[in-house]
Amino acid sequence: MGFQGDGCTLFGITFINLIKTIFTLGFYRFWAKTRVRQYLWGQTLLAGDRFSYHGTAKELLRGAVRFGLFFLFFVAVSVYIFLKFGSEESELVGNLFTVVFMFWLPFLMVGAWRYRLSRTAWRGIRFSFHGQGRQALAVYFKGYLAVPLTLGLYWPYFKMETEKFWRQNSRFGDLRMRFSGEGKDFLKKFIFALLLTPLTLGFYLFWFSADLSRYIWSHTHIGDATFHFPIKGGDYFNLKMVNFFIIIFTLGLGNSWVVVRNRKFITDHLTFSGNIELNRVVQEMQDSGAFGEESMDIMDVPIEIG
């Protein structure tokens, strides 16, 4: 894989976006986001061919408006309860909404991921996601219950199950992805990390994350091919440390370079071996609105899947 983008160009795009966003009282941000994605996707190459992003600002806007309406409804209800009954009741309703939200979150995540994949194409063929919200709810709910009950030991199993959910349900055209990772393979490393992380003042986390990504990718398959992401803890440490200093010393202005560095890190290391009969991959269309996508964004939940 390869990434051709550079920080300067991305900074130019982001800077113009920022000005336009301010001048339109925030409305331009959907166009801004689309613009940035078009650039990032387009500069990412696999086997010499570019990825492309087909989402439109209008879709994002529609998603945001719908989610905004839901939010207004929530606000109106809590204000109404507050005024009609009192602050205690209003707090109760607020908590109720929080619970509803927790159950809703997996659905929103699925919506967001589905939107993003369905707007991503390579060689003119789109990706798609076929997981269901209720499956996500089951996976995440089980994890949220089991991890504390097992004093954290369930975490590797939970992690692999979520990865399986996201990866196994993703497709490129009619080509399915498979995931063969299992929690038990990673249990020892996880316990090791639990012991070593406090002793190394947290620095071991870089090595642990590198191990984890390496394991996850080498158990991800598409067609007859398998991915490889042979990174070491040191690589990861270098990336994150330099990123950290870029952000600190540029007071955040260097974020574009950080984005580019993160992308490059992935594309420089991610490879796959084995056979994919790309010529036989056929388009499979799927329709998806941007509701999930925008709601995740509004709630400021970063989607870090894959």
């Binding site: 051709q4 160009t9 130019g12 795009i13 800077f15 113009i16 301010i22 001048f23 009282l25 925030g26 941000r29 078009q38 650039y39 387009g42 500069q43 010499g48 061919d49 570019r50 492309s52 087909h54 945001a64 989610f67 905004g68 939010f71 929530f74 606000v75 809590s78 204000v79 507050f82 005024l83 009609k84 009954f85 009192g86 602050s87 209003s90 707090e91 607020g94 194409a121 390579w122 060689r123 003119g124 063929i125 055209g173 790309l278 010529n279 036989r280 991959v281 056929v282 388009q283 269309m285 964004d297 509004i298 709630m299 400021d300």
Partner: protein, 379 residues
């Protein structure tokens, strides 16, 4: 050096499968002509295509007018393709990465438009909607709101009964004398603090700070303060102020796209109510109507004027002190009554005029048997 040519070879993804098909390309001023081997040529008008990548490999996307959003992608690796395309194609088939021209006139006009739209969006719009809404808010809601704010203040639980009796009596007298009926049930609370201030909460609660009580020297002066605060309530000023703050806060959060902030502004109404931002207009209105209320109750309106004069003097003196010596106590902190009630001098002038115009009205001494200076809280 770019060589001028109009024919190139490239490849095409037809959006149906991932196969790369070789294609011959010819540039014309109106469209791009594509010929697949063994097929007849197709044309892509420039209006239907866009640059997806302007570096090698160049990508151009073509949206088919069929349902299902199938996209065709043309890939060209020839380094001369881009410049030749820009030369032959119309100008509006433009780059993705626009060049940003900086123009001071546009910039300044933009800033002005920006400021103006901010003003409209966060001042006028909430103002208008709240104005439409405020009269429809039921009194019970206002009372709920007022009680919630009140609970944020540690008001005196066992106030001096003599003080309370007098304050309550004055308040009742004022309410009964009001010409129009009012649904509000006025209640008074005392906050033990040296700050000189009083707050009118929505629905009828009035909080008087002890510092203010100490400054007053007569029943009439107390009546002046209470008449002013009572009018804030009758005129729904605090409800209006809160709704306005809420509306602009929510609007801002919506523009910034930050739902957490929307929630916060809605949920923590009570927390933010401490700043009941009254406008200058509201203050003057409460003054004028307050004087009318005092006259209706046959109370000498000079009471309001004299306590305001005292407050103004005290404020000026404190400010002077602050200039000379660095006083330990923050002036603003102690003295928020007139400073939250802006431009005290012009208010006093208006008040004097109003009282002068009503000099022919009759008034009688207020509770001549109770002397405020004998019962008021002491240091």
């Amino acid at each position: 050096m770019v060589t001028s040519k109009i024919q190139f070879s490239g490849s095409l993804f037809d959006g149906k499968n991932a196969q790369k098909k070789p294609v011959r390309i010819e540039l014309t001023p109106y469209h791009i002509k594509l010929t697949l081997p063994g097929r007849s040529a197709v044309t892509w008008p420039y209006s239907d295509i866009r640059w997806a990548a302007e570096t090698i490999p160049f990508h151009i996307e073509h949206q088919l007018n069929t349902p299902g959003e199938i996209l065709e992608t043309l890939v060209v690796e020839d380094p001369d393709f881009y410049e030749n395309c820009r030369r032959i194609a119309p100008d509006n088939f433009s780059r993705i990465t626009e060049i940003f021209f900086f123009n001071w006139t546009i910039f300044l006009v933009g800033v002005l438009i920006l400021l103006f739209s901010f003003y409209v969006a966060f001042k006028i719009v909430p103002h208008y909607f709240v104005g439409q809404l405020v009269d429809k808010v039921p009194v019970e809601w206002e009372e709920k709101l007022g009680d919630a704010v009140l609970s944020a203040f540690p008001v005196e639980k066992n106030p001096d009964p003599k003080v309370m009796a007098l304050l309550t009596d004055i308040l009742h007298l004022l309410k009964q004398s009001k010409v129009e009926e009012t649904p509000y049930n006025l209640k008074i609370f005392i906050l033990q603090t040296e700050q000189i201030n009083a707050l009118a909460l929505p629905g009828g609660n009035i909080i008087v700070f002890e510092g203010l009580l100490k400054i007053a020297d007569s029943n009439e002066e107390l009546a002046g303060v209470l008449a002013h605060e009572a009018q804030h309530i009758f005129l729904k000023h605090s409800t209006r102020g809160i709704l306005r703050n809420l509306a602009s806060g929510m609007l801002l959060a919506l523009v910034l796209g930050d739902a957490n902030a929307v929630m916060e502004s809605a949920v923590s109404i009570a927390g933010k109510l401490n700043t009941l931002g009254f406008s200058r207009k509201m203050e003057t209105e409460a003054d004028m109507k307050g004087v009318e209320l005092m006259l209706d109750a046959k109370i000498n309106p000079q009471g309001m004027l004299s306590i305001y004069n005292k407050l103004l003097k005290k404020e000026l003196k404190l400010e002077e002190n602050k200039k000379n010596v660095s006083t330990s106590k923050n002036v603003k902190e102690i003295f928020s009554y007139l400073s939250t009630h802006p431009s005290a001098k012009s208010r006093l002038k208006k008040l004097e005029k109003k009282i002068k115009n009503n000099a022919d009205k009759l008034w009688i001494p207020l509770y001549p048997n109770t002397h405020w200076n004998e019962i008021k809280p002491r240091d």
